[in-house]
Subunit: 187 residues, 2 copies
């Protein structure tokens, strides 16, 4: 899939997760995409815990995820994205491990979209419980999770169509300024 | 360009910035890609200040950027990526505005790569001075900047070849675990 098309078609498909198995090579491609992201001073703070066991996924949905996030339990794979804040730089209270994890995760989401897999970023989990279930060390933060699943329909495009048609984004003039804050580009 | 190819070819081309003008439509495509990133509760905290004026870029390199980051002054465009932390969620000290900005910025970098433009994430600037020069409000944080430029050579691929051949990333086994922290996938 073309890059700009993947960027356009990536969306959160939380109710479109089939239990169909995912080939380990695809998971490796997706993690490999995340691995190539840039990071401050090339610190590469990202760590991924790929959960595939049905029992662990069941426990996670029973005790760690909450609210609408429990739907991730329908997926055959959940990826948790973690980091030690001290592995990256902090500048005037801006903790760049969070920014750098964002860079890597977007690569992951786009690679998944390119491969026809549904994703859905979720932060609605009890972090302490996730860490307990997955043996994650004390000083590591769990920042985000995403299920990885084939959509139940015939194709990604079919599954994403409704969601994409309802997509809501701020107007470009609200988010992009030119030369000074608040100024628009010359017409 | 194919998505996985753009992810593979994106690299920091800090010494490959020509002054050649960039069509405003390309800048819009790049900002439009950033705009489509996901964010916590769809808060879309990202704000972009696109600096194109030669005088402002000169001032920025003289007084705001420091160290090797001053090379950004060679580019015809510098994009500053900003946010109000309060526009996004904070969960147990994890400030998701930083994570969400990372998601949007990776889209931006990949769209630029797809269009044959060089980028280079830079955090080595005096934030107060950037805010003063660009009229950025007190409560807004400036998180990252990137120049946007055509490479001086014939093509992006030519410009990136050396950099990509020297790329260094942690081994997959250092960053990806399966089912529990520290565990590897079954062979």
């Amino acid at each position: 899939m073309e890059t700009l098309e993947a960027i356009r078609k990536r969306c959160s498909l939380k109710n479109q997760l089939s239990g169909k198995e995912i080939n380990p090579e695809l998971i490796e491609t997706i993690l490999g995409a995340a691995r190539l992201a840039p990071s401050a001073r090339n610190t590469q703070p990202w760590r991924f815990v790929v959960v595939q066991g049905k029992d662990t996924i069941k426990k996670l949905t029973e005790t760690a995820f909450f609210g609408p996030a429990v739907v991730v339990g329908d997926a055959p794979v959940i990826i948790f994205v973690c980091a030690r804040p001290d592995d990256d730089v902090t500048v005037e209270e801006k903790e760049y491990y969070l920014f750098d994890l964002g860079l890597a995760v977007e690569n992951m989401l786009l690679a998944a979209t390119d491969l026809g897999l549904a994703t859905h970023l979720v932060a609605s989990f009890n972090e302490a419980e996730v860490k307990r279930l997955l043996n994650i060390p004390e000083d590591v933060r769990v920042v985000i999770a995403t299920p990885l699943a084939y959509p139940p329909g015939a194709s990604y495009d079919e599954a994403a169509e409704e969601k994409l048609s309802q997509r809501s984004r701020k107007d470009m003039r609200e988010i992009a300024y030119f030369n000074k804050w608040g100024e628009q580009a010359a017409e």
